[in-house]
C-alpha cells in the first residue's frame, strides 16, 4: 500500500539516537554520524535495521558520504543527495517493504538523515531481515503516516529541498498510480522515503491542512481530524477523506485482531476480514448448537425459577449480588424439604464455609451480612416455596456460573466451589 511507506520495525532505539542528535544541523553533526558508523555494529543486536551487511554498494555509499562530508555544506542537501542515490540503487522491495514508521518524533529529521547515511546497508538489511522479524499483522496496520509533526529541524531543510523537490515530483506520479491494495510496485522504497522525508517540508510549504497529530501517545479526540497530505498524494478533499477512512479502518482492524484468536499470522485486510467472518460464524454456530443442547437438557430440568434469583438486587451485576442470590438459594433450599435433606444441609454448609475465604474484605463484609440475614429471610423464602421446586442440580448450575468466572477479573475474586 502506498500508505505504508514505512513500517515500524523498532522505534525504541531511534529515540535514543534522536535524543543524541538533537543539535542544530551542522557539519559537526555529520561528523558525529560518521563516527557513529563504526559503532553501529554494537547497536546491531538491538536494532533490526542495523543489521549491517558489507557490500560494495555500501562502500560506494560510504565514499559518497565521505565526499559529501568533505564538501561540507548544508547537511540537509547532503541528505537529499544520499537519498537520491539510494533511491536509484536500492533493490526493489516486495510488498511488505520494511520502512520505518513515521511517528512524528521531533528528531525525525535527524533520524531520517541518519538512516539515509547508513543508507544502503540499512535498506538492504531491512529488506531482507526485518521481514521475518515483523511478521505480525502490525506491519500492515501501522498506517500512521499522515500524522507527522512539524519539527523545528525541518525548518532548516526547507530551503535545500527545492532542488530535491523536482526529483520527488517526478516520482510523484509513480505513487499516485499505485492502488491502495496492490503491493508496492517496483519503485524502490528510497524515493518514497525521500518523498516522505521531504514531504513534510514540502507540505509545510504548501500549508494544506496542517496539524500535528502525534500517534505516539494517546491524544484526546479532537472534533475533527486534521490530516496532513503527503507529498505525492492528491490533496483534494476526497482522497484525504479516503485516507482518513482507511486509517480508521486500519485502527479497527487492529482492535479486531486482538479479539479474534489466532489471527496474528494473517496479514492483510482481506485475509483478516475473512478470519473475522469465520470467527463470527463459528460463534453463531456455537450459540445455535448450545441452544439445541439446552433445549434437550431443559426438558427435564426446566423448573427452576429465575424470579427468586432476580427479585433481590435485580440489575446490579456484582459478585456480592451473585453470592447473595446463591445464599438465598441455599436458604430457600434449606427451607424446603427436597430430595435429601442431608444433601441440602451439606450444600448450605459448604457454601457457608466457602464464603469466609474471600480475598476482598469488602466482599467479606457484604457476604457475612448477607448470610447473617439469612435467618431473617424466612418470610421471603416462604414466598419462594410457592414457586416451583428447586433441584440441587439447578443450584449447582446457578452457582456454577459464578464458579466459571473469569478468575482474572478484579471485582469478582470470590470463588465458590461445590
Amino acid at each position: 500500500m502506498d500508505n505504508e511507506l514505512f513500517m515500524n520495525t523498532q522505534l525504541h532505539p531511534p529515540p535514543e539516537i534522536a535524543a543524541h542528535f538533537e543539535q542544530p544541523s551542522s557539519s559537526s553533526t555529520m561528523l558525529n554520524w560518521s563516527l557513529m558508523d563504526p559503532n553501529l555494529t554494537q547497536h546491531s543486536p538491538t536494532q533490526d535495521y542495523f543489521s549491517w551487511r558489507k557490500s560494495t554498494e555500501l562502500q560506494q555509499k560510504q565514499s559518497i558520504f565521505d565526499s559529501a562530508l568533505s564538501c561540507g555544506g548544508g547537511d540537509g542537501f547532503i541528505i537529499r543527495e544520499l537519498i537520491g542515490k539510494l533511491g536509484n540503487s536500492s533493490a526493489t522491495p516486495n510488498r511488505t517493504t520494511p520502512l520505518t514508521e513515521f511517528s512524528g518524533d521531533p528528531g525525525f529529521a535527524e533520524r531520517a538523515a541518519r538512516f539515509s547515511c547508513f543508507g544502503s546497508r540499512s535498506f538492504n538489511g531491512r529488506t531482507n531481515s526485518s521481514l521475518p522479524v515483523n511478521n505480525n499483522g502490525k506491519i500492515v496496520n501501522s498506517v500512521k503516516l499522515t500524522r507527522v509533526s512539524s519539527t523545528p529541524a525541518l525548518n532548516g531543510l526547507v530551503s535545500p529541498m527545492v532542488p530535491a523537490g523536482e526529483i520527488s515530483r517526478k516520482r510523484k506520479h509513480l505513487t499516485k498510480v499505485k492502488s491502495k491494495e496492490t503491493p508496492l510496485p517496483t519503485v524502490s522504497p528510497a524515493p518514497s522515503f525521500s518523498k516522505t522525508a521531504e514531504g513534510k517540508g514540502g507540505k509545510r510549504r504548501r500549508q494544506d491542512e496542517e496539524k500535528e497529530d502525534n500517534t505516539k501517545g494517546p491524544e484526546p479526540p479532537k472534533d475533527y481530524i486534521h490530516v496532513r497530505a503527503r507529498r505525492g498524494q492528491a490533496t483534494d478533499s476526497h482522497s484525504l477523506a479516503e485516507r482518513v477512512r482507511r486509517e480508521k479502518i486500519g485502527e479497527r482492524m487492529k482492535l479486531l485482531e486482538d479479539l479474534v484468536p489466532g489471527c496474528n499470522k494473517v496479514t492483510g485486510k482481506a485475509l483478516m476480514l475473512d478470519e473475522i467472518i469465520n470467527y463470527v460464524q463459528s460463534l453463531q454456530r456455537q450459540v445455535e448448537f448450545l441452544s439445541m443442547k439446552l433445549s434437550s437438557v431443559n426438558d427435564t430440568r426446566l423448573d427452576f425459577n429465575v424470579d427468586a434469583l432476580v427479585s433481590k438486587d435485580v440489575m446490579i451485576p456484582s459478585s456480592s449480588n451473585r453470592l447473595h442470590e446463591a445464599g438465598l438459594q441455599a436458604e430457600s433450599l434449606s427451607h424446603h424439604s427436597y430430595n435429601n435433606n442431608s444433601q441440602l444441609h451439606t450444600n448450605v454448609s459448604s457454601s457457608n464455609m466457602m464464603l469466609p475465604s474471600p480475598v476482598n474484605s469488602v466482599e467479606t463484609s457484604t457476604l457475612a451480612s448477607s448470610f447473617t440475614h439469612l435467618p431473617t429471610l424466612t418470610q421471603f423464602t416462604d414466598s419462594i416455596s410457592q414457586y416451583q421446586i428447586f433441584s440441587q442440580e439447578d443450584l449447582q448450575s446457578i452457582v456454577g456460573m459464578g464458579v466459571a468466572h473469569n478468575p482474572n477479573h478484579e471485582s469478582q475474586n470470590m470463588k465458590i466451589e461445590l
Binding site: K180, D258, V280, L290, R301, L309, Q396
Partner: protein
C-alpha cells in the same frame, strides 16, 4: 488485550449480567404454554431458545446503545408484532449505500458485505463503524457462549 486508552469503546458487561438476562428470558419462555408442552417440536423449541439467547444477549450488552443490539431487538419485536418503526433508517441506508458504492475497493467491500450480512444491523453502517460493531458483537457473543456453556454443563445430568 488491554489498551490504556481506547477511543473505540467496546466494553462489555460481566458474565453474570448475561447470565441474568438469559435466565430471565428462559423463564419467560417457560411460562409460555406452547413451550413446555411435550408435543412441541424440537426445532421450534430450539429456535425459540436461540432467539431468546440472542435477545437476552442484546439486552445484556447495553440495549439500545449499540446498533446491532438495537437491530436485533427490533427484529425480535417485529416477529412478535407487526409494528415496524425506524422508517427513517431506510433513508439513511440508501444514502449510505450510494456513498459506499462510490468507493472502489473491491476486496474490502466484498468482505465488508459478508460481515454486514452476519452482524445484525450491519446494513446501514459505514465500514469503520461496522468494524466497531463487529468487535463489540464478538465480545458479546463469546460471553453469551460462555454463559450457555456453563448452563448446559450445570444442567446436564451427571
Amino acid at each position: 488485550m488491554a489498551s490504556a486508552y481506547n477511543p473505540i469503546y467496546t466494553d462489555v458487561p460481566e458474565k453474570d449480567v448475561f447470565a441474568l438476562h438469559f435466565l430471565q428470558t428462559l423463564s419467560n419462555l417457560r411460562t409460555q404454554n406452547s413451550f413446555s408442552s411435550p408435543d412441541n417440536k424440537t426445532s421450534d423449541r430450539v429456535k425459540k431458545i436461540k432467539k431468546a439467547a440472542y435477545v437476552s444477549m442484546a439486552r445484556a450488552a447495553g440495549g439500545a446503545n449499540r446498533l446491532w443490539s438495537r437491530s436485533l431487538l427490533h427484529q425480535a419485536a417485529k416477529r412478535n408484532n407487526k409494528n415496524v418503526r425506524f422508517l427513517r433508517r431506510k433513508r439513511r441506508v440508501t444514502w449510505l449505500m450510494r456513498r459506499r458504492s462510490n468507493r472502489g475497493d473491491p476486496i474490502e467491500d466484498v468482505a465488508a458485505e459478508r460481515l454486514r450480512n452476519l452482524v445484525p444491523g450491519g446494513g446501514g453502517m459505514e465500514t469503520s463503524k461496522l468494524m466497531e460493531e463487529t468487535a463489540h458483537y464478538i465480545k458479546c457473543l463469546s460471553m453469551q457462549v460462555k454463559v450457555m456453556q456453563c448452563l448446559v454443563d450445570g444442567l446436564s445430568p451427571k
